[in-house]
Point group: C2
Chain length 246, copies 2
Amino acid sequence: MYSQTTISLTRGAVPSPIGRADPRPTLKDGFGGQPVESLSAGEALFWEGDEASQIFDLLEGVLRVYKILPDGRRAIMGFVYPGEVLGVSFQHRSLFTAEAVTAVKIRRVSRGRFLSVVNESPDLQSQLVTLLCDKMSAAHEQMLLLGRKSAEERVVSFLIAVYGKCGEGAEIELPMSRLDMADYLGLTMETVSRMMTSLARRGLIHATGRHRIALSKLGALRDIAGRDQGEADAEPAPARRAVWPN
Amino acid sequence: MYSQTTISLTRGAVPSPIGRADPRPTLKDGFGGQPVESLSAGEALFWEGDEASQIFDLLEGVLRVYKILPDGRRAIMGFVYPGEVLGVSFQHRSLFTAEAVTAVKIRRVSRGRFLSVVNESPDLQSQLVTLLCDKMSAAHEQMLLLGRKSAEERVVSFLIAVYGKCGEGAEIELPMSRLDMADYLGLTMETVSRMMTSLARRGLIHATGRHRIALSKLGALRDIAGRDQGEADAEPAPARRAVWPN
DNA sequence: CGTCACTTTGAAAGCTTTCAATAGGAGTGG
DNA sequence: CCACTCCTATTGAAAGCTTTCAAAGTGACG
């Protein structure tokens, strides 16, 4: 069962014990022994509306998950990076389509097996809740971006978010196309391109490859993004009076 | 512990047994005996970044939950209606501010107590996961709306969503202001107003009060909204060819 | 019945999109 | 190894939808 104390103890990535082989169970344990499958760029892993009977562990590559409107407009809900688990938040139908952006390696297990493994350990149950909460937080952050940020702010926010996920030095890799970025940010690919050009012209970023850019002025970029951006929560929340109304 | 079979068994609202007093536990059980508190319109229940140590049960009224950018732009993440539970998806900090749109009555319990009650029953654990998944689904739907729908589509989608939650006959109540709607839909209050006027002029809706409107032509409205809109999933997912690109 | 806040309406401005053309890279084949 | 082709990205110009700024209208409340 849940340990009622664990919920608030962990946040974000699972902290790893120091120094030796990790004795702590992780959500990946359920995938042990499952065969590794490969998808090449563009292939779909599952479609929106499919019966959601499986859960996936992404080992390599990047996935995009999206929804489509009847007339073809596409909204990418997110990109999935190695180490992430996909499909946990489905009930019985997939909420979106998942497609390989790059060549991808995955493992899959049935929902039943995954959950039975999770049930073995209060620690894993807590991690599962943490995972769901983190995804919820990311979704809310994206709603803020889509609802209230300008094109430039959206692009910069995206760059910084990618940097937070897998930045190396000051550089990030953007394996997805401009169209993918656009569909994720609620823009057109032309607008994304223009914003990137503009940022480069101002020296805030610098293209070091077609899909590789350096964030030359991280501070300025963070200012533009205008918000936490999934990075370490710098300062503790400002003190606020507890005004219990009424 | 989790029952590995329950996850996929329930979806959406908890189905109630027929005919007699409900013997099935619900997530509200944890609130039993807690005093009812009142907030008047405009008062805040908690702020973004507050320590998230409590969970709330909304008995009456409507809440808005929102985030604010440093320069004051506001994005409403959602409205909370009676019967809903708030705060479940927080880890240790609140992800948003919650404020009363109307006069509101709530009960609160500590996260610890809530979780210990949930832990008593596999059924409740399953309901908790269901709750989180449903919220995730709603968040994704909103991301689609914000990223890819036009102003008119957004407004109509909202009206239909409200209708789905608490429509009576063909009428719905919109207790929130136009500005609230705008901040929820990623628009300005003027645009929301214009869209409502336009819909009324075309006979699709009809104002029966300042904050009460009738959806005169639901079918046409659904067409405009262009998507499921949280209502009953009409048809099963369409068959899809597996076209492997590349 | 007056005041205040919210809503509606109008007109102009602005940001993003649309449409179109050019440029750039990657992969292929000679 | 270079030429060719195709696809993606960039750039330009005009159009469009939504926003902004402003003013008038409407309803709630004291």
